[in-house]
């Protein structure tokens, strides 16, 4: 094996071990009981890989590496300590950082190697840089929208898809030209800038409710660009990590798009935000029944089985800790309380689970949509907190509804439905929800946190044991 120069053989062996640790790390994520071992395996693999890389034979200067590692740690620690409600924007930001790293390395490699670069390498490098830069700006846009620095509403204009498509086409044409003529270095910056602009335009038309799909897709792009970088650098560990990350993002994108009833190609080609501005429809004066906290508490304490359906509104109102108090108060009275989590509830995959786990609600009480839907007919009370479209029965019955066909939580089948809502304004998608006008539905008007708080007071203060 004398083809390995210097320390290359031990480094390759370390990378092999690190790859195995990365795979184990993801394997252990399958269950909450082993998941923390997964983090440790990942950390160990990462540490080994970085230490091994420092042995690389061509190294002449360690000063800037050390400075960069320290600076990165200084930036990374606060990013690891953000509030749980801020996890979606933190995740988007970290996709941006990952993509930035890949894009910069790709750019540096291009200027070091061109024009002596094989066609295949140039093709992979172009893919790395185009994917990396569009993921960089796209993720920054997504993070800005989630942090509400940028408007959450989709920004659309006529011919948007055509403009986006043309931009991407120009970037690809430039890439092809560079593959054929790698000496045309002056074209490289144009390819880079166009891909960066494409990332911005790709995410502009996307609204907040579509964020789970977008974040998953950007995750997949980030993984694929890292794998492409692995090809350029002939680094097998990078190919493995990129492929793992890419497949993870792809799987999550597929789950999210199924949960929103979009075809996967529809999502892949960036046709987000198409479901919007449904005609407000015939606004005949439909009657809703409302109830007070006192009445709601009486119904809840008389129930045997309660299912709570949280949505993004719960996160916005920061109501998860009050929800936990409600869970405690009801459990104490012998009520069976569970939570029904729709895959796209919140702003990223699994967002609601993290918020409820933070509020100390045991994870075996958190039910996936497929596991709980058949239980709604035997449920006494379904309590909807800050969720709207994912409970809309029109998705099952009304073929004219923009969300027709989207899998929903069948809360309308519960004996009583209670919906905590600020007012009668329609949800994000602008679609009226027939659930609110059903005979078995009670509207609880008010702020989610305040209303749940007053239900808890009724339950613990008025009668019973506390």
């Amino acid at each position: 094996m004398n083809e390995f120069a210097g320390n290359q053989l031990p480094i390759e062996i370390i990378y092999l071990v690190a790859s195995a640790l990365f795979i184990l790390s993801l394997k252990w994520m399958s269950s909450p009981t082993t998941a923390r071992h997964g983090v440790w395996a990942g950390e160990l693999g990462m540490l080994l890989a970085i230490a091994g890389t420092l042995l690389h034979h061509g190294m002449v200067d360690y000063k800037w590496i050390a400075i960069a590692l320290v600076l990165g740690t200084i930036i990374g620690v606060p990013l690891g300590r953000v509030q749980m409600t801020a996890v979606p924007q933190r995740t988007a930001l970290s996709h941006a950082f990952g993509a930035l790293c890949v894009t910069l390395v790709g750019t540096a490699e291009f200027y070091l190697r061109s024009p002596d670069i094989s066609r295949f390498m140039m093709a992979v490098l172009s893919m790395e840089v185009i994917l990396g830069s569009l993921t960089f700006t796209g993720s920054l846009m997504a993070a800005g929208k989630l942090q509400e620095i940028l408007p959450q509403r989709p920004l659309t204009y006529k011919g948007q898809n055509l403009v986006n498509f043309l931009l991407l086409a120009v970037a690809v044409v430039l890439a092809v030209y560079l593959v054929l003529h790698p000496e045309a270095r002056q074209l490289y910056p144009f390819m880079l800038v166009i891909a960066l602009a494409f990332g911005v335009l790709l995410v502009i038309p996307i609204g907040g409710a579509d964020m789970p799909t977008v974040i998953s897709l950007l995750n997949a792009y980030a993984g694929l660009s890292a794998a492409a970088m692995g090809f350029v650098l002939n680094n097998k560990l990078l190919i493995v990590a990129g492929a793992l990350d890419g497949s993870s993002g792809l799987i999550l994108s597929v789950i999210m798009s199924k949960a929103m009833n979009r075809s996967f190609t529809n999502v892949l080609f960036g046709a987000f935000g198409q479901v919007q501005a449904a005609a407000a429809g015939a606004q005949e004066a439909k009657q809703v029944r409302s109830a007070t906290a006192e009445e709601a508490a009486a119904i809840l304490s008389a129930a045997n089985k309660v299912v709570i359906v949280p949505g993004y509104g719960m996160a916005v109102a920061q109501a998860q800790h009050k929800v936990r108090e409600l869970y405690d108060a009801l459990s104490k009275r012998g009520v069976d309380v569970r939570f029904a989590i729709h895959p796209v509830a919140g702003r990223m995959p699994g967002h609601m689970n993290v918020l409820l786990a933070e509020a100390d609600i045991p994870y075996d009480r958190l039910m996936d949509m497929d596991d709980i839907n058949s239980d709604f007919p035997q449920t006494d009370v379904a309590l909807v907190i800050g969720a709207n479209d994912v409970t809309n029965p029109a998705a099952r019955t009304d073929t004219s509804s923009p969300i027709f066909g989207m899998p929903i939580l069948d809360v309308d089948k519960a004996h009583t439905v209670m919906v905590i809502k600020r007012g009668m304004s329609p949800g994000f998608a602008g679609i009226d929800n027939p659930l609110y006008y059903l005979d078995n539905t009670l509207m609880l008007f008010g702020d989610a946190k305040a209303f749940v708080g007053s239900i808890v007071r009724e339950l613990t203060g008025g009668g019973g044991h506390s």
Partner: protein
């Protein structure tokens, strides 16, 4: 020579992709958020490419770009592992006290 490197790479990519699909398909939806922050941290292994770029010091441009790349990737590694562990620590099973 270059051709065999490409084919080797493609084999590795294909196999790792299949492993990824099979392993990640089994992750409970409960843990999708920590899964994403973990894969994000693992993906920051791109730092090794950036470290070599800085260490070899082949040109001023490559050193500058590489240094920024190392900073970006390191912040993902540190932040990603930290927050994943913090999230996973919060997932607790129901205690007997809450069930009675």
């Amino acid at each position: 020579m270059s051709g065999s490197i490409v084919i080797n790479g493609l084999f590795i990519f294909m196999l790792a992709g299949f492993i990824g699909f099979e392993v990640i398909r089994r992750v409970s939806p409960l843990l999708h958020t920590p899964l994403m922050s973990l894969t994000n941290a693992l993906d920051a292994i791109a730092v090794v490419g950036a470290i070599v770029l800085v260490g070899e010091h082949k040109s001023t441009l490559s050193t500058i770009l590489g240094t920024i790349a190392v900073i970006a990737a390191t912040s993902n590694i540190v932040g990603g592992f930290l927050i994943t562990d913090r999230m996973l620590k919060m997932f607790k099973s129901s205690r007997p006290a809450t069930k009675s």
